[in-house]
Subunit: 328 residues, 6 copies
């Protein structure tokens, strides 16, 4: 049995759930500033150790596995702390404030020969799993264009103040928050993380960080991603990917596939299991544990996360300079 710890019990609660479903893991320790949460989760999951100071948690020798789900600016130092303490680490997205931080994290993980995985839980929801399988079976042919849209109407009340709106602590706005998901899904489904150039714009109309971002991201195999992300804007809320391939296309949320039978256009509606979000966490944790046991690189490795962070940095740079950013 691997002994696992969770630092940060907001999104971290879902990690606790995922570990609790895993037959090869014992939840061994949790850390959070909120003592209420420490108490209630200790009970719920029978956790033997709980700490207000995560550094105490890291000192537990027998602890091998750590999930980290903290405000963005804490990801880099805590992850590095955990890696240096010899733990395998699963960190929530965005993995860091920027690619410089991410690079450091990846470097430490490599030096310490530890597993570093970024929490890309959207990959594990049923319709994404089905879509990935369809693509692998060739249902879409070669994908050449992807639209990735995550437009929220309003994420925060007008006068709210929190670390999300403070670029020093968050790294940015909606782009840093939703961008990792939308880019990771796009690159994972396209099966290609090699970006060559980026052109983007961002707007700060309603808050000090970006509330709208739009970019064209080109891959080295000719695929283009059209990315649109907002935290606040006057629009109908939209959240979907649309993939264009040579033999078929797909839209998600809900999943539809567009093909031809002979020369007749057809729209295909797959039967996708309705599961709540947490079953995805169970699969994510299962993948993490498998990688630890087999000492393999996770599918959403720190290296992949770093590539995503570089894209985010490039979009901000392009938006600032008004110029295209080359990455090849």
């Amino acid at each position: 049995m691997l002994k696992a710890g969770v630092i940060g019990l907001g999104m971290g609660e879902n990690h606790l759930y995922g570990y609790s479903k895993n037959p090869e893991v014992r939840i061994w320790a949790i850390a959070d500033l909120d003592e209420e949460k420490l108490k209630s989760f200790s009970q719920k999951y029978s956790v033997p150790h709980s700490f207000k100071d995560y550094r105490e948690l890291l000192k537990l020798k027998e602890l091998e596995v750590i999930s980290i789900a903290l405000p963005n600016f804490l990801h880099c130092p805590v992850v590095i702390g955990a890696l240096e303490a010899g733990k395998d680490v699963l960190v929530e997205k965005p993995m860091a404030l920027n690619s410089q931080e991410a690079e450091k994290m990846v470097k430490v993980a490599r030096e310490k020969k530890k597993v570093l995985m970024v929490g890309m839980n959207y990959r594990y929801i049923p319709e994404m799993q089905v879509l990935k399988k369809f693509i692998e079976q060739g249902e879409l042919g070669n994908i050449y264009y992807i639209k990735a849209v995550a437009l929220r109407r309003k994420t925060f009340p007008k006068d709210s103040t929190n670390w999300f709106k403070d670029k020093q602590k968050s790294g940015g706005g909606g782009l840093v928050d939703m961008g990792p998901h939308m880019l990771d899904l796009s690159l994972w489904l396209a099966d290609n993380f090699d970006v060559t150039s980026i052109y983007g714009v961002t707007y700060n109309k309603f808050m000090p960080v970006d509330d709208l971002a739009s970019a064209l991201v080109k891959l080295n195999n000719g695929v283009t991603i059209n990315l649109e992300i907002s935290w606040e804007t006057f629009t109908k809320p939209q959240f979907f990917l649309s993939l264009f391939g040579t033999k078929g296309g797909a839209m998600t949320n809900p999943l539809k596939v567009y093909q031809e039978f002979g020369d007749t256009s057809v729209e295909v509606t797959p039967e996708v299991k309705k599961e709540d979000f947490t079953s995805g966490m169970e699969r994510e944790i299962a993948h993490f544990i498998k990688c630890i046991k087999e000492r393999k690189e996770p599918s959403s490795s720190g290296e992949k996360g770093l590539r995503v962070m570089r894209i985010l940095d490039a979009i901000y740079e392009s938006a600032k300079t008004g110029r295209e950013v080359r990455m090849d």
Copy 2:
């Protein structure tokens, strides 16, 4: 240019339309008891000859092609008259009152070496054309079971009196009226007109002829057709075919295909052209004219029509005797 004539201008109106769209045909003569109709259609389609007595029409030597769309009991004598006058004939469904009549008609056609085609216009509507093509492409695998349902709630007002309700003139009720369509479609889609046994019931609850019929029809390759037809019954009106195959299934009206992509069940919605009924008549007449010019047996030949009539006879017999009827 072939010279064509139409006898009976009820459903025959659609034949006129079909002929008018065919570049190899000139509409040459029409016959009907209703002088109003003779006049208006003569004008609309510039028809040189029109008659109250169809026998006059048959005397026109130069006339080669004839459509016959009369009350059921007139189909046999008029078709035979036309064949004997040396014409190629397209007759509306049901081709006759029963299989004895149909047999005579087929015999005469064979002796006279004339084309005898039965008007199966449902085959020509877009969703049937698409479905047939899908089956030929193997989208359903081997079909083994077909449900053919044509349930009307009420075809005639309670106290109406017309030849439809007189078995001597109609041959029967809903079964004779809608049965030829549903059976022809089933056998055509299954690509097999070889029936081995039949078991059926009919009911006359609201009129002197059958207002509800239900039967199981077995083909020599193991396919079973479950047929349900009504002219009057207290139900939600329904009109569809449902095909069950080893690799997929289909339902019509509107057309949906059921398959698997890998181990995921999918529902496929084809894009079917929206056309009005008459474009089907255009294709039906085109097939008839092609067969005449190439002296080929039509897809819905008199022989095929005869097989359908034998099934209808057998259902009535099974309903009467309470026994299964073997046809092999």
Copy 3:
């Protein structure tokens, strides 16, 4: 207070619920091979006795009432054991593997003067209760035709292996599983269990037992039932009864009634209480207990269940021989 026991805690769980709601019953004993279940249900319903071996349970003298919910092949021996131990018995459907077994069970019940009831829980869901009342009030007039359709797209994953697919243990496929429900509902609503002849087909396209069955079942008063049942087929899932009467018709799921007001056709939507499945179990158990206390034959008696089993046997026989089976 009657003392009740439940053997088999899969579907048997619902029996526990039903007994727990009955003021005249005390749940006294449970038996199952799964010790986890024995423990958790013992606690939940405060059951004093629990056994892995059901024979121990049957030895309890004070136990008067038994529910049996086991794999099909165990129904016959365990029911007979319970009857011989002097218990009144409620057995899940199908009551046995075939009519021979069912006959033995009925015979023992008659000899021992014990109540033998078959668990026809669908009768107790609200829309069936409303429909039965409407029929009794004459809303449909005389029923003459019933369509009973239970088409599942896929009941088991492709590679699953379980006793359901082993004819020795299950008695058959979808027909044995869903047939008792659909036939019992049809005959109960038609208020006539006297079948005269049967004609049917079955298919085994996707598994060793029947995955599709279709049959025409005739009753001695002229009613015909058109039965369609599948465990696996490429189709839109469908589950409904459709009744055709001389004054009205009805379709279930959801319940609609078709009638005339004067000469105007109307569609009637009754207000049916939305209840979950278990409230039906409460009513089923209440009927069982009432029959025990009043020593009456239950509405869904062993005798009625036997008649249903005979129909199933006849459908299999007709499918095998390709001939109609007479039962009068």
Copy 4:
């Protein structure tokens, strides 16, 4: 053949259509100020006589039947002119500007022994015909309360000027325009035109005549009508009657009936023929012609129309005085 004339070719166009469909009528003359219309309708309906001055038309001795469809303030003088010229008259609603005028018209008709009918075409649309028949068959039991709602969002553009908005010419606003329909339908369906008291309010928020009116109208058999009418108001457009009876209720547009089957509440949806508006005009004219030929009082006689006008006057009076108006 009766010779008919139509004065006013706005709404009068529909009268022309109705007469043209009547086998016992020949359209003999039309009058309108618009020469274009005179010309085109003369052609379309082969009308032998057409006039700009309606007084010329009235001089035609052979003309027996007249429809009058003019701006409201012309109804009284032209109808009286026609009656005095010995014609039977069908006048559009509102029959006059107020009950004083209406009284004069009725008096002249009575003296001249001429038929005077008011054009209540809503009675003749299919769902009203079906509803009336249901009420006569007793489907609703005794009606005791009726809601009659005709709320338009906006009848005229903001700055339009026409006679409708000039109380001298129109008699009032929405209440005079839609009130006759809603009241006539209510009283006709309730089969009672004997009003005892009225309490109402009107508003002129957006134009010089009433744009909203609301009233409670009591009949001598205890029925109350809750009337709501608007020409302009910020609301969802609504147009329906709702009838409350002791055995059932009904709402129109679309027609639904509410009843009980035993103790189950049901909602009944009748199958109502979809016809366009003009088929109602055909039936209205047929009734008018029948009354003329049989010298009978029309169902919507001048007398009935007068009673409706008295209600309108009373609502205006109640609105002005703030007091209830008694009519018994």
Copy 5:
């Protein structure tokens, strides 16, 4: 911390919930005739004192705040008892059987300088809060007409007997039950409780108290309320307010606003939080506690409740006399 007590644990359960959410209140005592409820709620909310006789509860000196939720006829005596015992009181609607009782209650509250609030929980549901804010922001301009409709199809089974149907104990039927809500909402949204005249009808078709009531209620600023309430009638159930203003209109359930942008009519759909009923209770109790602490008159004060009771009395009187009732 204020100490609160609740008398009557039917609707009173929601008061318990509301108090439990309030940080300035401790639930100190409950009273009800049902000992089961006393026990279970004592546990759930850790209530130190519970009584079958509410008079015992009133004797607790330290108790400052009381909610009263009893059958209507007990409201007056128990509220007065509580006020005289020096408590601030929140009483459920209707506050009394009639305005005489309500007047006494208000008088005692004034003499004792105690807070008396009537439980108008509908004001606190999200869409009413949003609508009220819209009106205050001027989105509707000046409101001049309100339609308040609460039509139930069937409130009680046919043969039920309970105090609701006994006028001595209930004060009346649907009008007394739902009328306080619909009138209070109308007057609160119109921001005017000054009624000048009332005209109404009531019907007792299915039970000894009114099952349908309809009235026009005029305010001193020209606003008219059209009120319709039923406990039983054959209709589609309806529950909504419709407000007509000079710049916009609104309908509730769900909330829609009707306006113009320039000369284009628009329909506005606000985003209204979906909350369950109890969150409204939390806000209601919060308002009550705030008024107690600040010794302010509550928004739905006893005085406001009295005005509503006077309207109800006047509707009954108008219905009885057939005359309008003036209140100015």
Copy 6:
């Protein structure tokens, strides 16, 4: 009366309609290669002159106004011919094959002091007119981002060959065909035609010209347009604009506006007149004629059209070079 001529009777048919509705225009001449069309339109619109060779038409001295609706590669020479013949010209979109051609055309128009207008008929459909007015009234505040999407699933059958797919004759694929509409609408609604930089991609997956194009287009006031256009791709067909402003947003097809009332998010549905496409042509022609009579620059002038052509050229260039194109 201005005398107008139309060259090209495909899309030109709609110009004929538009001129026919204009009281200040007489349709004087038409030209097309198809003699059938010449004949039928000459009749329908009573056109005195018709030519197979458009040069004959241009020779008519009295002709002042010309519409040109030809294959793309003919626009430049024929427009210049018409301008040089002294005519005012309305040319269909795209105005030319590229910006070089467009520049020449604009130059000639300027030299000849003739009106040159590009046919931007989408501007004239009702929902665009309403949206433009809303923007002018400030309903959206300052627009900063626009999404312009025109994705077709399939424009031509697989094996079709026509000038559309020949870049020499069409100038390009979907981008040249639909791009002018989507860009013109975006720039017109943004009220800014000053583009500063462009970054784009195009794909030719299914035909020799572009079947998919995607670009980010930046304006000099900070607005970005995200443009997506396809002639063929596996996707759900989509055609809409989405505008993001500081006080509101809008989506078209159908038109919705997103705003806030206070702090409540609202979705606004305007009432947009349902008109068929041709009423837009009427308004377009009216604008053209007005500009001619007043010698004003049309709203969609040649100059504006030229700017759109420059954007198209830049997208093709960016797609080819993989670099951003600066236009400032």
